[in-house]
């Protein structure tokens, strides 16, 4: 494994520094704790299960809320499990969706086994191949800061694969009751009346 420069907690803090009213979907495991480490927010939908579907949740949300920015922050293992969703999302080209993959080349939650990106899989190339033209790989702080300063302004479907190192931050677990996370999120986005329909 290469020793990448970027630390995941630093990356998430930069990405969501000016999140405003962005809607955040995380992946399973590490990226869930990363998002939670910045403090709880009712515009976070914390995904704790159904591995491989984070980007699709992001697509359904982006299509239903075209005026809101939707950011999916997931890991390389979760992305690989739902790799076909990149082709599905590329067909729709939602302008308000950005997919960010924290790629440490490891399945962190299961004992740090090497993922396919640690061998030969190139996620940003796969995203381009699927039809996501604005696809990039990020390894330096300058590249990260460029992304974080633009992510809320970009009016285009984007895919960013951020190579991160193996350093972990303190374990921060968010709320995990799915029905509550769902209903709280809907109330925050749609207002109280949505719960009375």
């Amino acid at each position: 494994m290469q020793n990448y420069l970027l630390n995941r907690r630093y990356v998430v803090s930069q990405l969501l520094k000016d999140r405003k009213n962005s809607l955040i979907i995380n992946g399973l495991g590490g990226t869930c704790w990363d998002v939670a480490s910045l403090g709880d927010n009712e515009l976070n939908f914390y995904v704790w299960g159904g591995m491989g579907n984070s980007c699709m949740i992001g697509l359904g949300l982006a299509l239903s809320q075209p005026k809101r920015k939707v950011i999916v922050i997931t890991g390389d293992g979760e992305m690989l499990m739902g790799i076909g969703s990149l082709a599905t999302i590329a067909v729709k080209q939602p302008k308000n969706l950005s997919i960010v993959v924290f790629d440490n080349e490891l399945y962190g939650e299961t004992g740090k086994q090497k993922t396919h990106t640690g061998h030969c899989a190139d996620l940003s190339a796969i995203a381009i191949g699927a039809g996501i033209k604005n696809s990039s790989i990020i390894k330096t702080n300058d590249q990260l800061l460029f992304l974080s300063s633009n992510i809320n302004l970009i009016k285009e479907l984007t895919f960013s694969q951020i190579k991160i190192n193996n350093e972990e931050g303190p374990l921060v677990l968010p709320i995990r009751e799915g029905a509550y996370i769902k209903t709280r999120f809907r109330k925050a986005v749609l207002g109280e009346t949505a719960l009375l329909e």
Binding site: I57, L63, Q65, T88, K182, R186, L190
Partner: protein
């Protein structure tokens, strides 16, 4: 005798489309399927419906969960074999969060099936869905489709339930594999 003697002259795909329209269904997740060919066409012609073609059926659980988070209703159109692809997403996302879900499933592997590879999943479909505590109703005839879809839509979206309507192979007609 015609193989599909019960396929009476009632346009049930159009009736389903009308129920979807009436209920303001906006996101149509689908895996192309000959049994749903007409319904897919009706929905494609409706500019208020957003068609999302999936690479595998389990993407539908994520899509429709996201749609509901953003305030839109949807439906998933697929074939019985696709139910097998959905199991963990149904359990660990849809059921775990009490997301509403309506699946319209065309059946294979039963009435006059030509392809033996379709039979095991066809036989397992209803049992698998029931094992996940999903509300399942079968339609055998065209005249019951409209009411059934309407009722399961209500159960899904009024009561946060996961539902499936199984459209029997006897209803849709068996695939002939002829030009």
């Amino acid at each position: 005798m015609n193989e599909n003697t019960l396929k009476i002259n009632l346009n049930w795909p159009l009736k389903i489309y009308e129920v979807l329209k009436e209920n303001n269904i906006r996101q149509i997740a689908y895996v192309p399927d000959s049994g749903h060919k007409s319904l897919i066409q009706y929905c494609q012609n409706d500019t208020n419906m957003n068609m999302v073609s999936l690479t595998t059926e389990e993407e539908g659980m994520g899509l429709l969960a996201g749609a509901w988070l953003g305030g839109e209703k949807g439906v998933l159109l697929m074939q019985s074999s696709g139910v097998g692809n959905c199991i963990n997403a149904l359990a660990s996302l849809t059921r775990a969060c009490n997301f509403p879900l309506l699946m319209l499933v065309t059946m294979r592997g039963e009435w006059n099936e030509f392809n033996p590879w379709q039979v095991p999943m066809g036989k397992a479909t209803e049992k698998v869905l029931s094992a996940l505590d999903i509300n399942v109703v079968r339609c055998e005839t065209a005249d019951e489709v409209q009411d059934t879809v309407y009722a399961m839509m209500g159960l899904a979206y009024k009561s946060n339930s996961a539902t499936a309507v199984l459209l029997s192979q006897r209803l849709i007609g068996s695939k002939t594999f002829k030009e």
